[in-house]
Symmetry: D2
Subunit: 143 residues, 4 copies
């Protein structure tokens, strides 16, 4: 379970568990989403005091592979890593892992597009975002 500089712990709620007794497949995306936002807060890219209407990031594409079922009470941590910075989009790799055993429950990639709500169009990733993410992830500037 290496390769992630940021993990966010998450609690499996009874309300996340489906009729088969496991974390529901849709709930994994809720876990991904919450950890991504906490990652942006951690990097100083999003101030939770501001409205979510100002967050110019749109989810364009998600791939997720489910490896093992998650039970209520499992000590989950969700890894987040920006694996690619494009011009107007970025790829975020994510993993739902067991904080004790290190087991991987699910892993995936999320394509985010930076969006300007004022002009209602996609926009280049802001320079400040690019710098902070590159520094945090030790990414080279290849866009």
């Amino acid at each position: 379970m290496s390769g992630f500089n940021f993990y966010h712990p998450m609690e499996v709620r009874y309300g996340d568990i489906d009729a088969q007794g496991h974390l529901n497949n849709a709930s994994f995306l809720t876990f991904f989403e919450q950890a991504r936002i906490q990652y942006l807060v951690h990097l100083g890219l999003f101030d939770p005091q501001h409205s979510f209407m100002e967050v110019g990031v749109i989810v364009a594409d998600i791939h997720i592979a489910y490896r093992k079922p998650v039970l209520w009470g499992a000590p989950i941590q969700v890894g987040v890593r920006t694996s690619k910075l494009g011009n107007k989009s970025m790829i975020v790799s994510q993993v739902v892992a067991d904080a004790k055993s290190g087991d991987i429950y699910a892993e995936g990639e999320v394509v985010l597009v930076t969006f300007d709500y004022k002009t209602n169009a996609s926009m280049p990733i802001p320079a400040a975002w690019r710098e902070k993410i590159q520094a945090f992830e030790s990414l080279e500037d290849r866009h």
Copy 2:
């Protein structure tokens, strides 16, 4: 924010927030529910390794009063207290509070009925439950 011997901290997820930017009214019940289960685990009344099909507790009635809107990032803790033990039912008082300011966001009462899944009928609260809850809550035996 006194009167609770048990609090469970909970994270407000982006997925809990509705179009008006606040914790959705239904999500409060998800917070209540998760904290109730953690309360039962804390008292040794429910082993999360077992199936939820064995938990003989049915929600019969809920009253909740919403005091203040909850925003993403609020440091929530949910208080749980058994306030009355009947013969086949119990009343659990709950509060959604701010762990820092002590502000109350919502409070309510949940009526739980003990249920025997084998006979498919309500059943008296088991003696072991009664003793543990009375001891934890300093409740007198008035049923």
Copy 3:
């Protein structure tokens, strides 16, 4: 199952069902909420093309009594009725019922407060709302 001039049919989703195989207690409030909004649309009090940020209605209090468990596939309809119009608040009675058998799965009351987002304070129920609701529900003006 009389006493409601408005029913909204709702589909029980797999995602609404919890680990015990029933419609989750929190999901009932999601059913209540969706049917309330459809009721407001039906009465011409809310235009869904507008933002939900303009709907000046805040949920202040909910009481719900659970009568019978709801299974996936149950033909649900949710009844909505304004049972009392106050000055700055109204009480909405709701029921989750079986559209075929008429069985009541749950019933409750929701207290709504009219709210002015511009002044950030509660406000009297607009006259237009009052008239339309009184006409639809054959309510007398007793406030």
Copy 4:
């Protein structure tokens, strides 16, 4: 919006809408899931009277591309098509579309693995399932 022999209409609930006013990315998977189950019921492969514990189908992998935001009130229909039948797995193609305009809001592929809960292991797709799906989808037997 051709290529689907099965569509299931779904209602966008207020509870599905997130703080940015759109159908949340995780909720799309709830829409996919509900329509897949209705597809199985339609083909006679799942009897909703039975427990979901008997449905030996596990979600192994999902890819979803988000094309356009979905607003509350949008007339959604979800298309479901089995696009490939393997030995122990199948690929289901899905689309979230507008029933009026035909616009595609999201599309994706879901890999399902047939699972025997008694032996707790993956199992070949039952012959009865294979025949019914091939007939419904006009799929050739290529496994």
